[in-house]
């Protein structure tokens, strides 16, 4: 996919003088950034799968896919996110300079020093694990024995930071998964497990440093190059399932479509996509299960680097921070009537590369010139000592004083407020414009419309309410506006200047949806917060470079003592959520569904809220372990292998829900309660997005608007039957699992013989294509046989 309209760029180049022509430095830096194209790759490592044919022979692909899925571990994503945030925090402590870029080298050194002991300790641990296995005959063991043996290996006391400890724990968990996969699949690929285990664990060890190098790069606001290449290559070779949903495919056209539909510009934030990082790590590891060539790629993630060479990294975020900082200074010292075009001309080249589709504008100097003139004219009204006065005083109202800014000297607040708001307005305008369909850039009238709209929306978000036209105000009943926090840094984000206090009831909380489709009610229950209750609502907006883990730390969401896991208190403020909670729907934004699945994959301009209980609240959970894990709400995940017609569900019940259900069962009145909870979770999970291992590439939007397909009904019937039987005969297993110190309980359901994708999609229309359809009616009303299923209960949270 190419996102630069080269033809248009060349055409326009002849006609229009580019504003960047005289800036040699800009010209030098641009090509490397453009060639880099991080945004097109971040979210969909496996996107090609949907359009291209899967390569590789079926069985090998199967093995790789199975390995990839068994290695994947969401706790590791969390651990990486925390490690990135911890490293970033360490690197920034004590480093303050006018120009953030001045300190890049020192920051890198500090971050390196922070990660070095973690790297050594991690390598040591993996080695210990490998030694532990060396003298064991793993192939001769039954799966249970192997589980027990692997369980016996513990990481033990580590002299590293808390995030480091979690990271190493996660690595060892992966190592255990690798061993299990290798042993179980050794037969399939015709190799002795033992002979490949050593080299595979060596590979894991060798991958630690490259992985930490990428953690470092992200922590110091750089994006390592070619981060996702191995994952994509692997996807091409083996046809791995793409993540979460079939709607992931991302093209320029899709972005335009999304923008037109939701008026939201989907630009993933730069740093802090630990999920993608973990995915590429898992992919490299999964590939090694095959042995052979892949094992020789010792020290790199893929095929793109010299052995041992540090990954190249880009500076867009630092450049943007520096440019923003310069713009703020320039605007603060500007005189009335001064032409701001040169200042904006210098600012724009830094903004565009940090936006996924911003590069399209770089290739259109005419558009950029038009944009620059337009912004200079409109922003110009608010600069100069006299003119900026009203803006400053309007911004620096009570609300803003409450949230505070990082400046320490008196008067800074006032001085910085107006220029920072203007910088944010420029950035927002550019971002919104950049996401417009290409047609808008080629017609001056359309461009003018798009630009005015983008500008209006930017003003509505960043200017104090009283200065915004009533029909544009985003939260008239609250007043306030978004204020940039840490404006001069690469991790700038915004906070809404009002913190309204609201009452949240259980009914309201159950209609508010947070990440991963979980309801707010479930999230609060898992966090031990009782409803109804009064809460202060803090609203934030992400910028390029924002990660929720870091935002939570900077905002001291959990206080200084327990920063880990605090990001789990941030929820997406969609239009619906803003309407239900605050009666101000415009304060929310609807991000595409892929940015609502995980807190580690968010978009620029997405908004979030956090509920701070008013008054005294419950005791914090003091148990050691991952804080995010401790408050994880109940949810369900599903994985299907359509070639075999297998569906596996993992129904997770949070500690709070598990205890409540277990107590009900133990007191003899809970059979129905448990069955109801299981069915509700299972049906919701079966309906939701799933990780698939498809048999063939598929189109998008299948089966929408139709009733449940035959396969779905068979699935539901199987689930209902199996769960009812489980509760009747083995409900006490749930109680026993709840007694385990691990947090929560997972009920796993494995259904076999559920129809494949064709059946799923086309039942009722082309019955003959469904493998299961031949024996029974398929008109959508006939009773279908339930799919055979097994149910197991496990303490804690387990992947499907």
């Amino acid at each position: 996919m190419t996102v630069i309209d080269q033809a248009a760029g060349e055409r326009l180049e002849g006609e229009v003088e580019t504003p960047f022509a005289e800036d040699a430095a800009t010209l030098e830096t641009l090509p490397s950034t453009l060639g880099f194209l991080p945004w097109t790759e971040v979210t969909t490592p496996f996107a090609e799968l949907l359009t291209g044919e899967a390569e590789g022979d079926g069985e090998t692909a199967e093995v790789i896919a199975e390995a990839f899925e068994s290695i994947h571990d969401e706790q590791f994503d969390e651990a990486l996110a925390e490690l990135i945030a911890e490293t970033a925090e360490a690197a920034e402590t004590g480093l303050v300079a006018e120009q953030p870029q001045q300190l890049a080298l020192q920051r890198q050194q500090i971050a390196d020093a922070h990660l070095a002991p973690i790297g050594s300790e991690a390598e040591r641990c993996v080695q210990r694990f490998a030694d532990h296995l060396q003298n064991l005959d793993v192939e001769a063991m039954a799966p249970d024995q192997l589980d027990e043996l692997l369980g016996r290996f513990e990481v033990g006391e580590l002299d590293v930071t808390p995030a480091g400890e979690e990271f190493i724990g996660g690595l060892i968990k992966k190592a255990k998964s690798v061993v299990k996969t290798v042993v179980s699949t050794a037969g399939k690929i015709g190799k002795a497990a033992l002979s490949v285990l050593g080299p595979i664990l060596n590979k894991l060890k060798a991958l630690v440093r490259p992985l930490l190098q990428r953690v470092l790069a992200i922590a110091i606001n750089k994006l390592p190059a070619a981060l996702h290449e191995p994952a994509r290559a692997l996807a091409r070779r083996f046809g791995l399932a793409q993540k979460e949903t079939e709607d992931l495919v991302e093209t320029e056209g899709d972005a335009e479509e999304e923008f037109l539909v939701s008026s939201f510009a989907p630009t993933p934030v730069t740093a802090g996509d630990p999920e993608s990082l973990a995915e590429s790590f898992d992919a490299a590891l999964a590939e090694s299960v095959l042995g052979g060539e892949s094992l020789e790629q010792g020290e790199s993630f893929g095929h793109d680097q010299e052995r041992g060479a540090a990954p190249a990294a880009s500076d867009e975020l630092e450049s943007l921070a520096a440019a923003r900082s310069a713009f703020i200074d320039r605007v603060a010292s500007a005189q009335e009537g001064e032409d701001l075009t040169p200042a904006i001309d210098q600012f724009l080249p830094a903004i565009l590369p940090a936006l996924r589709l911003g590069v399209r504008l770089v290739g259109r100097p005419k558009v950029v010139g038009f944009l620059s003139g337009f912004l200079a004219k409109l922003i110009g009204q608010w600069v100069g000592p006299k003119l900026s006065g009203p803006l400053s005083s309007a911004i620096v109202d009570v609300g803003m004083r409450v949230i505070g800014l990082e400046q320490g000297r008196p008067g800074d607040l006032e001085q910085e407020a107006a220029p920072a708001a203007l910088a944010a307005t420029v950035e927002d305008t550019v971002r919104r414009l950049s996401e417009q369909p290409a047609a808008f850039f080629e017609d001056e009238d359309l461009l003018q419309v798009a630009l005015s709209e983008a500008f209006e929306e930017a003003v509505a978000a960043n200017f104090p309410t009283q200065l915004v036209r009533p029909d544009l105000q985003i939260a008239p009943s609250l007043g306030g506006s978004f204020v940039v926090r840490h404006a001069r840094t690469a991790y700038a984000y915004k906070k809404f200047s009002r913190v309204p206090e609201i009452e949240v009831t259980a009914a309201v909380a159950s209609t508010v949806t947070t990440f991963g489709g979980v309801t707010l009610a479930a999230a609060l229950r898992a966090a031990g917060i009782a409803l109804p209750g009064r809460f202060r609502v803090h609203v934030y907006e992400s910028g390029p470079g924002t990660t929720l883990v870091r935002l939570a730390r900077l905002e001291r969401i959990a206080g200084s003592a327990s920063a880990r896991g605090a990001h789990s208190q941030l929820h997406p403020l969609t239009i619906a959520n803003a309407g239900v909670l605050l009666r101000e729907p415009r304060l929310g934004v609807d991000a595409p569904v892929r940015f609502l699945a995980s807190r580690h994959r968010i978009s620029v301009g997405q908004r979030f809220f956090r509920l701070e209980p008013v008054g005294q609240s419950g005791a914090p959970d003091a148990t050691p372990g991952s804080a995010a894990e401790a408050v994880r709400p109940s949810d369900g995940r599903v994985r299907s292998d359509e070639s075999r017609g297998d569906v596996r569900l993992s129904l997770f019940f949070s500690e709070a829900d598990a205890q409540r259900l277990a107590a009900a069962v133990a007191s003899g009145r809970g059979g129905t309660t448990l069955l109801r909870a299981l069915l509700r979770s299972a049906f919701a999970t079966a309906r939701g997005p799933r990780r698939r291992r498809p048999t063939a590439p598929r189109g998008r939007g299948r089966g929408r608007g139709r009733g449940p397909s035959r396969a779905q009904r068979r699935l539901r019937a199987g689930l209902a039957k199996a769960l009812a039987e489980f509760v009747r005969t083995r409900g006490n297993e749930f109680v026993r699992a709840a007694q385990d110190p691990a947090r929560g309980v997972t009920v796993q359901v494995h259904l076999r013989g559920v129809a494949g994708p064709a059946d799923d999609a086309d039942a009722g229309e082309t019955p003959g294509t469904a493998p299961q359809a031949a024996t029974a009616g398929s008109n959508g009303t006939t009773a279908v046989p339930a799919a055979p299923a097994t149910v197991t209960v496990v303490p804690g949270r387990v992947e499907p």
Binding site: G528, A558, A561, Q616, A622, T623, Q739, P741
Partner: protein, 416 residues
């Protein structure tokens, strides 16, 4: 140098010392670490430092006016006396503010180790849970509660809203002192929060009236019991929340043979012997026969009423005969401040009856002592259950305390 300049210089020197010292108050870390302050503020949901900063600001403002007065006195000997008085007053204020800040600083500083911090955070939380469900439905303000570890055998409370040492400073938080021997069996915490509830709801006066009516036929007994109403109300509150555990724990505090029968003039605390027996009577009224009968017999056998001061023996014996009626009055008399309902209608003592606690123990299983869910939702009943089991099996008391020590802090329990 003339004399008045000499005195003015000396005043300025003195004042310089005190204002300089006061300046240090701006930094809350002079009193406790930032970490400890933040842990406390997060636990009780109240910016204590901001509130204390106002007191410090007033002191500093006072320092500035005093400085101006001293400077003016340099030029005008007639204002020397005024300046002298101002400096003296500033000194006194300084000490008052320091006492106030020290109080909070020390309270915060008891949260030094992770273990103690977690325990006290848990106690903050159950203390709040003990008052919130009663006060909020009554439309009364629910104050934040802070617990701290203090010296001595008995707990105490510095109620919210009372004037602190520093002029103009009002206590922003109900501060409950927990003593070490009861840290892991903290039923006395609920006696103290009972004081706060009784104060806000006007229960003390209502109970005094009710006791007056019950004992109307015996003016001497009436005169004896009515002044005890505030302490009795607090005991009743601890009882309805934690049942027999509160009675057994109370007896451990008052069961000193040298003071068990002591009745100091004006002391709001009932005679210890009667307090324990009243607790047993409340148990009997609420739950029928049970382990409290054994405690009652043991108390009466070990410490017969005849051991009391001869002058109070008749009153004590007459009181003993009326304990069942007094228990009924305490538990069942409607209280105007409770919207004409008795305390047992607001907090049902049946939730902590031995059978209810046994059912909790059975249905939750061993997870009761390990799961953060139970710690968060049933903290008070867990305290009641642990206290009950400890009282029932005195030979295993150490084990129960050790278990409480692990479950309260969320560590993996060894006893299951």
């Amino acid at each position: 140098m003339n004399e008045h300049r000499l005195i003015a210089d000396e005043l300025e020197r003195q004042l310089g010392h005190w204002t300089g010292a006061a300046q240090c108050f701006v930094d809350a870390e002079e009193f406790a670490s930032r970490h400890a302050w933040e842990s406390l503020e997060r636990s009780i949901g109240l910016p204590v430092r901001t509130q204390l900063a106002q007191t410090v600001d007033q002191l500093l403002e006072n320092g500035r006016t005093t400085t101006a007065a001293v400077r003016a006195s340099r030029l005008d000997p007639g204002r020397l006396a005024e300046a002298h008085a101002a400096v003296q007053q500033f000194r006194r204020r300084y000490v008052q503010v320091e006492t106030t800040l020290d109080f909070f600083g020390q309270a915060v500083n008891t949260r030094t180790s992770t273990h103690l911090r977690t325990t006290l955070q848990f106690l903050d939380s159950v203390a709040y849970q003990s008052i919130e469900p009663v006060l909020r439905p009554l439309g009364l303000p629910v104050p934040p509660v802070l617990t701290y570890l203090g010296e001595g055998l008995g707990a105490s409370i510095l109620r919210v809203g009372i004037r602190l040492w520093a002029p103009g400073a009002v206590n922003p938080v109900a501060a409950v002192k927990i003593v070490r021997h009861n840290l892991y069996r903290p039923t006395s915490l609920f006696h103290e929060t009972g004081h706060q509830v009784a104060h806000l709801a006007g229960w003390n006066a209502a109970l005094a009236d009710a006791l007056g009516k019950t004992l109307a036929d015996d003016p001497a007994l009436k005169a004896m019991w009515q002044p005890w109403s505030s302490e009795i109300a607090a005991d009743v509150y601890a009882f309805v929340l934690t049942g027999f555990a509160s009675v057994a724990a109370l007896h451990d505090v008052v069961g000193d043979e040298r003071t068990l029968f002591r009745w100091p003039l004006g002391d709001p605390h009932p005679i210890g012997w009667l307090r324990t027996l009243l607790g047993c009577a409340m148990c009997r009224r609420a739950y029928g026969p049970g382990p409290w009968d054994r405690l009652e017999r043991a108390v009466m056998t070990t410490y017969p009423a005849s051991r009391a001061d001869a002058s109070s023996v008749p009153l004590i014996l007459r009181s003993q005969r009326r304990l069942d009626a007094i228990a009924a009055t305490c538990l069942d008399t409607p209280v105007p401040g409770f919207r004409d309902r008795p305390v047992s209608a607001l907090v049902d003592p049946q939730r902590v009856s031995p059978s209810a606690l046994a059912e909790l123990e059975r249905s939750a299983g061993p997870a009761l002592w390990t799961s953060p869910h139970w710690r968060g939702t049933e903290g008070i009943r867990l305290i009641a259950l642990a206290g009950l089991r400890e009282a029932e099996n005195p030979e295993r008391a150490g084990e129960w305390i050790s278990r409480a020590r692990t479950w309260m802090t969320g560590q993996r329990s060894v006893a299951a």
